[in-house]
């Protein structure tokens, strides 16, 4: 009888532990998505990439360093579509966003929700660059994490043009 009780309590604790960890994972992801939904990030140019690509450093904010790294790719693609970035060193020039319409994200909300979902289509257009080692800075109670990524801007633009989200150079002619 004692053995049964022991086994039952062991099993319960394992299950509880599992439940807690998976719950924590879900919470982390939720938190990460919340941070991403607010689009709290900064982009800086790192250098001139191959034709059709941009090499950028994305600074994302989160209380957990690992979460910020995971969200960097999403932020990078979002930044290229909606924000662009300023020029600087390494021959970087100002980069305008792919759309001039600031209301586009709201107008095509359904498309972008699907596009930016976890492991969504945005993943096709971005990859970590170099050794992928992030730069970590502590800002107040949270971390500011910088990750260098390469965004395939030409492919991204073509995809958005084909989906009718942005206009191509020759559309209307």
């Amino acid at each position: 009888m004692k053995n049964v009780i022991k086994k039952a309590s062991l099993l319960t604790s394992i299950m509880l532990l599992f439940a807690f960890t998976s719950n924590a994972q879900i919470n982390k992801k939720k938190k990460a998505n919340k941070d991403t939904e607010n689009w709290r990030y900064e982009i800086e140019c790192v250098g001139i990439g191959k034709p059709g690509t941009k090499v950028i450093k994305v600074w994302s904010y989160s209380k957990k360093a690992t979460i910020a790294i995971n969200q960097a790719k999403k932020n990078a693609v979002h930044g290229i579509i909606f924000q662009g970035y300023a020029g600087g060193a390494q021959g970087c020039t100002n980069q305008r966003p792919l759309t001039n319409d600031p209301a586009l994200e709201q107008q095509k909300e359904e498309f972008f929700e699907d596009f930016f979902k976890d492991n969504g289509k945005y993943m096709k257009f971005v990859s970590t660059s170099g050794d992928g080692t992030p730069t970590t800075m502590k800002v107040g109670k949270e971390y500011k994490i910088g990750v260098v990524v390469t965004v395939m801007v030409d492919l991204l633009r073509k995809d958005l043009e084909a989906a009718g989200i942005i206009k191509g150079l020759s559309s209307g002619f």
């Binding site: 250098g47 001139i48 191959k50 034709p51 059709g52 020029g87 060193a89 390494q90 021959g91 970087c92 020039t93 100002n94 980069q95 305008r96 001039n100 801007v153 030409d154 206009k167 191509g168 150079l169 020759s170 209307g172 002619f173």
Partner: protein, 314 residues
């Protein structure tokens, strides 16, 4: 039911094809006068005591590999964006071969050659609706090299810069000039295209910006101060332009009794029938209106964006 659907889809397809396609401007990459003259690719003429330098594109293309590289890189990138460009070298060769063919051509019946006025000859030059003008300078500081690159999109008719991108690349100790140039094109072409796109969007919203000029033959019985339809002819023409431009947008640059220039004329991209309209079509409507009022005239066109109506006859 099937027949109705078929008819509907044919009508829709017709509407979408007639309304969907505005006249597409042609674009060509050309080295700037500044670059050509700095690098010795120019011809010099004496114009009544004033020396005039004109860029020699043929010589530049034959003797400078960098200019070929830059033009080719830009052409490739624009092609990838679905907007193929006219190639300067091919245009120059076509002009030469066309001129040779025209010289040799004779009529089988009468043996007469091709009729060509001095104006026809003058118009046979390399041209496009939008000129992408490139200029670059290689900067050297000790062993370091960098490239300052300027890309300008110029409307051939309004003389306005409609797009542009410029900047200096990162200095390098090792990279060769062609590599730096390729890098400069890659760095700037997206920004250039973004401003070109903004120009096209403005054109679709507010009409194509063109220039309409009114002149008169020296023996014309009409000038712009003649009374026509109860008003001075210049005001009659101005009223027509106001009524036929998008949002009545135009400005009058000059008016005398002999000539009148309308600038920033925003002509619609399509006519009443839904057909794509260019300046020739737009000026033809004005020409017909004037002819109906008893003013004979002739229309002379320069590409998509400039038309001249000459009063007094053909």
């Amino acid at each position: 039911m099937k027949k109705i659907l078929l008819v509907c889809s044919i009508i829709l397809a017709t509407i979408s094809t007639t309304f969907g396609q505005a006249k597409k401007p042609t674009i060509m990459v050309v080295p700037s006068d500044n670059w050509c003259i700095k690098n010795g690719y120019f011809m010099e003429f004496d114009n009544q005591g004033t020396k005039i330098k004109i860029p020699d594109y043929k010589k530049a293309l034959q003797e400078d590999s960098d200019v070929l590289l830059v033009i080719s890189a830009i052409n490739n990138m624009m092609n990838e964006r679905g907007f193929p460009l006219k190639n300067l070298e091919s245009v120059l060769k076509t002009l030469e071969s066309n001129a040779a063919e025209d010289n040799m051509m004779t009529s089988k019946d009468s043996g007469s050659d091709i009729d060509e006025t001095p104006m026809d000859k003058l118009k046979q030059v390399a041209k496009a609706d939008i000129i992408m003008q490139i200029t670059w300078t290689v900067n050297t500081t000790g062993p370091k090299k960098s490239v300052t690159f300027i890309l300008q999109g110029l409307d051939a008719y309004t003389d306005k810069q409609i797009a542009g991108a410029q900047g200096t690349g990162a200095p390098s100790f090792t990279a060769e000039t062609p590599v730096l140039l390729q890098e400069a094109v890659t760095a700037h072409i997206d920004n250039f295209n973004a401003s070109l796109q903004a120009h096209f969007e403005d054109m679709f919203e507010n009409g194509r910006e063109v220039i309409v000029k009114i002149q008169k033959w020296s023996d014309s019985e009409f000038d712009l101060e003649s009374e026509v339809n109860g008003d001075e002819l210049s005001y009659v023409i101005e009223d027509w332009i106001a009524a036929n431009t998008v949002k009545n947008r135009f400005s009058v640059l000059d008016v005398t009794e002999n000539m009148m220039t309308f600038e920033q004329v925003r002509m619609p991209l399509y006519n009443d029938k839904g057909r794509a309209l260019d300046t020739r079509g737009f000026a033809r409507e004005l020409s017909k209106y004037l002819a109906d009022l008893g003013v004979p005239n002739k229309v002379v066109v320069k590409g998509l964006g400039r038309a001249t109506i000459i009063l007094g006859g053909k």
